[in-house]
């Protein structure tokens, strides 16, 4: 079979599609209702939930900041809050960018360029997210016992600290490896697409 034979097969699909029902006039009324696309915006994304958790975590540290009695803990607390805010901001910005439908009248190749650029930016954000998560792992492990029981974990329970940190680190290591493995492939494909569009 040659590629031109595919055309015949493709044409057969057209014949089948002609048997399909036409668009109902009521659909247009539904489309013009303001609720149609607002419904799309109510969609729950894992990123949105993640961002909310980050913001709640930052608020929790903020409300309990008085429990952090030394400069070391206060600096760790500020770093944690900043990281949590950055993580949530990155998530929300990413969602907003990915969700936006641009001008659909422009040529297809232009849309593909925008798509590829957005994808590259998204991958950069993912890298920043993973790096910040490593930093957050350390600061949270230091802060949690202090915030919940007023204890200094580093001096009072070295074993628990070592265990928690190791487990968290191992989890993040495997998680980031998995993320980067899939993103490396996507990145390569996106770069190839951009090269193709430039040629």
């Amino acid at each position: 079979m040659e590629i031109d034979d595919l055309k015949n097969s493709w044409e057969d699909l057209n014949n089948q599609l002609k048997k399909g029902k036409d668009l109902n006039p009521e659909v247009v009324d539904q489309l013009t209702k303001s609720g149609y696309h607002r419904g799309l915006n109510k969609i729950i994304y894992p990123e949105r939930i993640g961002a909310m958790i980050c913001l709640l975590g930052a608020a929790f540290i903020g409300f309990n900041f008085s429990k952090l009695d030394t400069t070391f803990f206060q600096v760790t607390g500020i770093v944690s809050v900043l990281v949590l805010f950055t993580l949530s901001a990155i998530s929300l910005i990413s969602i907003r960018k990915l969700n936006r439908t641009g001008d659909v009248n422009i040529p297809y190749a232009e849309t593909l360029k925008i798509f590829a650029m957005k994808k590259m930016q998204f991958l950069k954000f993912q890298r920043i997210n993973i790096t910040l998560s490593y930093l957050l792992l350390v600061t949270i492990i230091i802060l949690l016992p202090k915030l919940f029981g007023g204890k200094d974990l580093i001096t009072e329970n070295k074993y628990l600290w070592t265990f928690s940190f190791s487990m968290g680190y191992i989890f993040l290591l495997y998680f980031s490896k998995w993320v980067f493995k899939s993103y490396t492939k996507t990145l390569r494909q996106t770069e190839e697409l951009l090269e193709e569009l430039a040629s």
């Binding site: 040659e2 048997k19 539904q30 696309h37 040529p107 297809y108």
Partner: protein
């Protein structure tokens, strides 16, 4: 005819385009229906911007293919959208399995191409001229020819692998 009637006629005359684009750029019925809805919505939204410089079919291809690209980003990130009632393109009481199987084979063949190639070859299969493909995609006619030659080579290899399934 008012806008609504013109829109309905345009959609129904080009329903095959919408269905095939939605089928090629998605996996699974739910996602396909989701994309079809989004294409219809975006066509309606930008219907006033159709300037008649190109044919309605050409414009519809461009809009539908662009919406499909934007949809790719969202696909894995959302739960099903608000459904449009009306059973658009529903094949009631018919055995659709052979048709779906054929679409699936096309999807598999085209999945090995990048998004630019996928768009070009789909228009080629629709028997659009190189000039029309050039307008829809936004690359020169000679570039379309060069890319088509490369795509044919790629597809030939794919078809050889899958030829048994077409017998």
């Amino acid at each position: 005819m008012d806008k609504k009637e013109v829109f309905l006629t345009a959609i129904n005359n080009n329903k095959g385009i919408i269905y095939k684009i939605a089928s090629i750029y998605t996996n699974g019925t739910e996602d396909r229906n989701d994309l079809m809805q989004e294409i219809i919505y975006q066509v309606w939204k930008s219907f006033d911007t159709f300037n008649q410089k190109s044919g309605l079919g050409t414009w519809m291809y461009r809009v539908a293919m662009n919406v499909a690209i934007y949809h790719l980003n969202r696909t894995k990130r959302r739960i099903p959208t608000v459904p449009i009632e009306g059973q658009f393109l529903d094949f009631e009481d018919e055995d659709n399995s052979a048709f779906e199987e054929r679409l699936q084979i096309f999807r598999q063949l085209l999945d090995n191409l990048n998004l630019l190639e996928k768009g070009i070859v789909m228009l080629y299969l629709e028997e659009r001229s190189y000039e029309e493909i050039s307008i829809i995609v936004g690359i020169s006619v000679s570039n379309v020819g060069t890319k088509m030659a490369r795509i044919k080579e790629k597809l030939k290899k794919q078809i050889t692998k899958k030829s048994e399934r077409w017998k």
